[in-house]
Structure formats: structure tokens, C-alpha cells
């Protein structure tokens, strides 16, 4: 009689698994996990804070303050990634005098994990960017710049998978079309590839092959172009692709009051975020993971 009951239960597979999970909690069930993503964009060599007479930016920014903020967040949650969405260079004499060396050294001191390449990062030419690479202890991610015929070949990766607390976080980089924006003499033989096509490849690789739990796109495409609706932007990219959880943007110096939620091609939510420019803000996105298979029951809540 007992035996028959078990067989009946076994036929309702999922229920059994859930019960099993509860019954053997000490062995199977992990507590929920939290991954913190911190991000900046378009810092443009703003190493020092703004002075008291700088209008709405007065007394804001400054990398030494950002460093202590990030340090505190990391103490609270060691499972933190720090990312930058490009245009690290150009904007203060620090860049004119030292060519980007200080920017990279300081970002390394702050333990940035990865950055993508913005158009102004070519301002001293692709050779000027290459020359500063030894000072960067973080990775450069760019999936849609083909650098194979340039000095930057092999010095960037299309994507990287970071593992924090057992959670696999796939991050890939996207850059803006350089033609018409940057002098060809600066970017030389860098080839720009279509961001949507490349994102489709990247998300397939990160989701299917790398089995990532979280997929982040680090983009310098720009948030949105109202005057030029055909131009690719983060909002368009979010709607045209799938499996991206978060797009961290740059280029347009967009100060959002909070991250934007967009439905992707499968009707699922994608977060698009950008934090203006000049190191005035730090973006912070916390992702909470549960190991129980209760996804459909509880869904996913977004608090912004």
C-alpha cells in the first residue's frame, strides 16, 4: 500500500522534487544570493570633484570619494562587479598631460572588473589607447569592434564570464559606429559590426554555451535618439534582442532618475541604465537569486 503511494507521487515529478528539497534542506538548499553590479560611464577624465562654482555639478564627483563608496559597498557584499561603459578619456587636463595613464591606474586601484571602449577613448588614436593598456588591470570588452587588423588585436575580448558566489555573470561590450564621429586616422582599421546581430550571437553563447545566470551588455551606443529614430540605441537594442538582463549604457550623458524597464523580443523585462557623466553618479543594481525552482510561482520583481 505504501509502495503504491510512492509510485503515484513519483509520477508527479516536480512535486516530488520540491518535497525532496524541503526534506533534505541541509544538503540541497542554498540560501538566496545577491549580486551587486556597480557602474559608471563617460567619466571623461574627471578625476577631481567639481569645485563650488560649477553650477549643478558643484561639489559632486571625484574618484577618491567614489573609491570609498565602492569600498563600503564591497564590504557589505563581496559579490560585486564594477563596470564602466566607455569614454574614460578626454575632458580634463589629466588626459592632455598624461594620455589616460592616470585614468587606467586609478580604475585599477578601484578594482574595476571590465570596461567597454567609447569613441573618445580613440582621442589619442588607437595607438594612444594601446599605449595605456599596461596601466589597466581590468578587461576591455568589445564584441562589435573588429580590431584584428589593428594594434589592439588580442587586447580586447568580446565577452567575459565572471563567477560570483556560484552565479555566472556574462558581460559583453558594444561600441558606437565610429565613422563620422571619430577621424579615421584615429581608429584606423577598426571595423564596426552590427550591434543587434552581434548581441544575438553573444546572448546565444552566454545563455546556451556558457550557461550564464545573468547577462549584462556594456554599451556605448547611447540611450535613445529621438531625432534619429533609425539609429541604434540602448532602448532599441533592448527591444530587439532576448536574454539580456541589464544594459549599462553611455555616450549620450543621459541622467536617468531611475533605470528604464523595456520589454525584449520575448516580452521579458530588460533593465537599461545610464548614470549621466563625469563620475557624478554611481549606478547600483542588485540581483537576488533563489536556488529553489519557484520562478514561475513568484515571478521576478523589479524595484527601482
Amino acid at each position: 500500500m505504501k509502495r503504491r503511494e510512492f509510485i503515484q507521487q513519483a509520477s508527479v515529478g516536480t512535486t516530488l522534487i520540491t518535497l525532496g528539497g524541503v526534506g533534505l534542506q541541509s544538503f540541497t538548499s542554498a540560501p538566496s544570493k545577491k549580486i551587486t553590479i556597480l557602474h559608471t560611464n563617460d567619466v571623461h577624465s574627471h578625476i577631481d570633484a567639481f569645485g563650488p562654482n560649477d553650477g549643478r555639478n558643484s561639489n559632486k564627483g571625484g574618484i577618491a570619494r567614489r573609491a570609498s563608496l565602492i569600498e563600503n559597498i564591497r564590504k557589505e557584499n563581496p559579490n560585486t562587479l564594477l563596470l564602466d561603459a566607455g569614454d574614460i578619456f578626454q575632458g580634463t587636463p589629466y588626459f592632455n598631460y598624461y594620455g589616460g595613464k592616470l585614468e587606467f591606474k586609478l580604475m585599477s586601484m578601484l578594482k574595476y572588473d571590465a570596461a567597454t571602449i567609447g569613441n573618445h577613448d580613440f582621442d589619442n588614436g588607437i595607438d594612444g589607447l594601446f599605449a595605456q593598456l599596461p596601466h589597466a588591470k581590468f578587461q576591455f570588452l568589445s564584441a562589435n569592434y573588429d580590431f584584428s587588423n589593428t594594434i589592439m588585436d588580442t587586447h580586447t575580448k568580446p565577452y567575459n564570464v565572471f563567477i560570483k558566489d556560484g552565479i555566472k555573470i556574462g558581460v559583453f561590450g558594444l561600441g558606437i559606429k565610429l565613422e563620422g564621429l571619430v577621424d579615421k586616422a584615429m581608429y584606423k582599421e577598426t571595423k564596426y559590426l552590427d550591434p543587434i546581430e552581434i548581441s544575438q550571437d553573444m546572448t546565444r553563447i552566454l545563455k546556451t554555451e556558457e550557461q550564464c545566470d545573468l547577462i549584462i551588455c556594456l554599451s556605448h551606443l547611447g540611450y535613445n535618439y529621438k531625432q534619429n529614430p533609425d539609429k541604434i540605441s540602448d532602448l532599441k537594442l533592448a527591444a530587439a534582442t532576448k536574454n539580456i538582463d541589464l544594459i549599462i549604457g553611455g555616450h549620450t550623458h543621459t541622467f536617468l532618475s531611475k533605470p528604464t524597464v523595456i520589454k525584449n523580443s520575448e516580452g521579458k523585462n530588460v533593465l537599461v541604465n545610464q548614470v549621466g557623466c563625469y563620475g557624478i553618479n554611481l549606478g547600483k543594481i542588485d540581483f537576488y537569486f533563489d536556488s529553489k525552482k519557484n520562478k514561475s510561482a513568484n515571478g521576478k520583481s523589479i524595484i527601482i
Binding site: 510512492f6 513519483a10 516530488l16 522534487i17 525532496g20 526534506g23 533534505l24 540541497t28 538566496s32 578625476i47 570633484a49 561639489n59 559632486k60 564627483g61 574618484i63 577618491a64 570619494r65 573609491a67 570609498s68 563608496l69 578626454q90 575632458g91 587636463p93 589629466y94 592632455n96 598631460y97 591606474k105 586609478l106 586601484m109 582621442d123 589619442n124 552565479i167 577621424d183 579615421k184 586616422a185 545566470d213 538582463d245 531611475k258 533605470p259 533593465l271 541604465n273 557624478i280 549606478g283 547600483k284 543594481i285 542588485d286 540581483f287 537576488y288 537569486f289 533563489d290 536556488s291 529553489k292 525552482k293 519557484n294 520562478k295 513568484n298 521576478k300 523589479i302 524595484i303 527601482i304
Partner: protein, 252 residues
């Protein structure tokens, strides 16, 4: 009961291979944190920056010249004092370099109004002002253009009706913004003569709609920054007192 446990375990092993279960995203929280002066500075980072900051400040704040008045790019209709100063500086400082390399003289200079990024303030003028007026790393290039191509350049100027900085070129428009007279170094422009036009590599690339630099009869890259032309000019002058003049005007 023991059998029950065993059975559960068995099922569990089959489904999960005893690996950690997949993780599911359940909640996302997003916010922006403003970096304000209420945050303490990280000492290690601050100490690292300090010597570089001091070096730059010492260099930038050494006094090069004096300006008796504020010059803004918005003072003036088709030419401005600050624009005239910049274009004249590019002419006077670049021409010796160009001449020593090619044997030719620069005939005229064209920059863009949008490229003036700050005012020339009243008082002591330092290198910092040059960086503020011209923060970009643009270089001076000299483009060889035939007189008939100069027509396209003139048409651009009359159509834009903007105080794009020029030097050695004199352009007078009539009431309907048609060209009344155009001269280079005081002489009428000849269709077949080659003129050496100094500009920035940025504008040479067709930016700000300046498509008339291509095709051309030659390009000379001077490896000399526009900012350095301004700094060198500051160094040579005790008092900078640029004026609005009649180099680009409309007869009303």
C-alpha cells in the same frame, strides 16, 4: 521510513546529479548614488593623485599674458574678438612651420565657431585658459584648394551666417546675404590659383558640415595642436586685446 528517504535521495540524484541547483533571478533593485562631498576621500587614491594634480596646476596657472576685457564667442555677429584671435594665432604661429616645410605660405585660416569652448576672461591669462577655450587635441592641417573650391567654402560661410573664425580672408555680404566681395590677403580670388587653407583635422574630416575640403590638391599635417598655437601666441603677447573687425560682415 528509511526507504522513503532513500527514494527521495535517489530521485534527487537523478534530477540534479547532486550539483548545485540552478539559480533563478527573483528580484532586482536598482538605484543611482550621487557622489557628494559627504563621502570621505579614499586616502590611498587621494595620495596617488596629489603629485600629478600639483604638477598640472603649477603648469596651468603660470601667467602668460593679460586680457583687459572678457571676450565671448557670442559677442559679434559674423566675426568675434575671440574667434579672430584664435584664427589669427593659428595663422601667425603655423605659417612659419608650414613655410619651412613646403616653401609656401598659408593663405587663409578657417576654424569653426562651435570649437570655441570657453570665454577669454578678463585679467591674467594662463595656460589653463587655452585648455578651456580649446580642450580638444585637434591639430592644424593645411589643405591646398583651387580658387573654385574656395567658392564652396564661401558659400558655406554665407549660408551658415555664423561667426566661424577666419584669418586673412575677407568676406562682405549684402543685405540678402549674397557675397558682395571676397578677398584673400587683400586680393580677389582667382579660380585657378592654389590657396593653402589652414584648418583643424576635425573640420578637414567634414565635420560641422565642412565638406568642401575634399577633394583637394594636397594635405599637409603640421603635427601642431591648435591649443599650442594659442599658448604660443599668449606667450608672445603681454596684453591680449582682440577686436571685432570687418573681416566678415554684412552691409546693411
Amino acid at each position: 521510513m528509511r526507504l522513503t528517504h532513500l527514494f527521495f535521495l535517489l530521485i534527487f540524484f537523478v534530477f540534479s546529479n547532486c550539483k548545485e541547483q540552478n539559480s533563478y533571478l527573483t528580484k532586482i533593485e536598482g538605484k543611482h548614488i550621487v557622489i557628494t562631498d559627504s563621502l570621505t576621500k579614499n586616502k590611498e587614491v587621494e595620495d596617488f593623485i596629489k603629485p600629478f594634480r600639483e604638477h598640472i596646476n603649477n603648469d596651468l596657472d603660470s601667467i602668460l599674458a593679460y586680457s583687459p576685457k572678457i571676450c565671448s564667442k557670442s559677442d559679434g555677429e559674423l566675426n568675434t574678438a575671440i574667434g579672430n584671435f584664435m584664427a589669427d594665432a593659428v595663422y601667425s604661429e603655423s605659417n612659419p612651420i608650414f613655410k619651412s616645410r613646403t616653401g609656401n605660405n598659408i593663405d587663409m585660416v578657417l576654424l569653426n565657431h562651435g570649437g570655441i569652448r570657453a570665454v577669454l576672461p578678463k585679467g591674467n591669462i594662463t595656460k589653463r585658459q587655452a585648455y578651456e577655450i580649446m580642450p580638444f587635441e585637434n591639430n592644424v592641417v593645411v589643405v591646398a584648394l583651387k580658387g573654385k573650391q574656395i567658392d564652396a567654402l564661401l558659400n558655406y560661410l554665407k549660408n551658415k551666417k555664423k561667426a566661424h573664425p577666419i584669418s586673412q580672408l575677407k568676406l562682405t555680404l549684402d543685405q540678402s546675404y549674397n557675397i558682395k566681395e571676397a578677398t584673400i590677403k587683400g586680393k580677389l580670388i582667382k579660380k585657378d590659383k592654389t590657396y593653402y587653407v589652414a584648418t583643424s583635422d576635425y573640420l578637414y574630416g567634414g565635420n560641422d558640415g565642412m565638406y568642401f575640403f575634399k577633394p583637394n590638391d594636397g594635405l599637409y599635417v603640421l603635427d601642431y595642436k591648435i591649443r599650442n598655437a594659442i599658448i604660443d601666441k599668449f606667450n608672445k603677447l603681454d596684453t591680449i586685446n582682440p577686436m571685432i573687425d570687418d573681416r566678415f560682415i554684412q552691409i546693411k
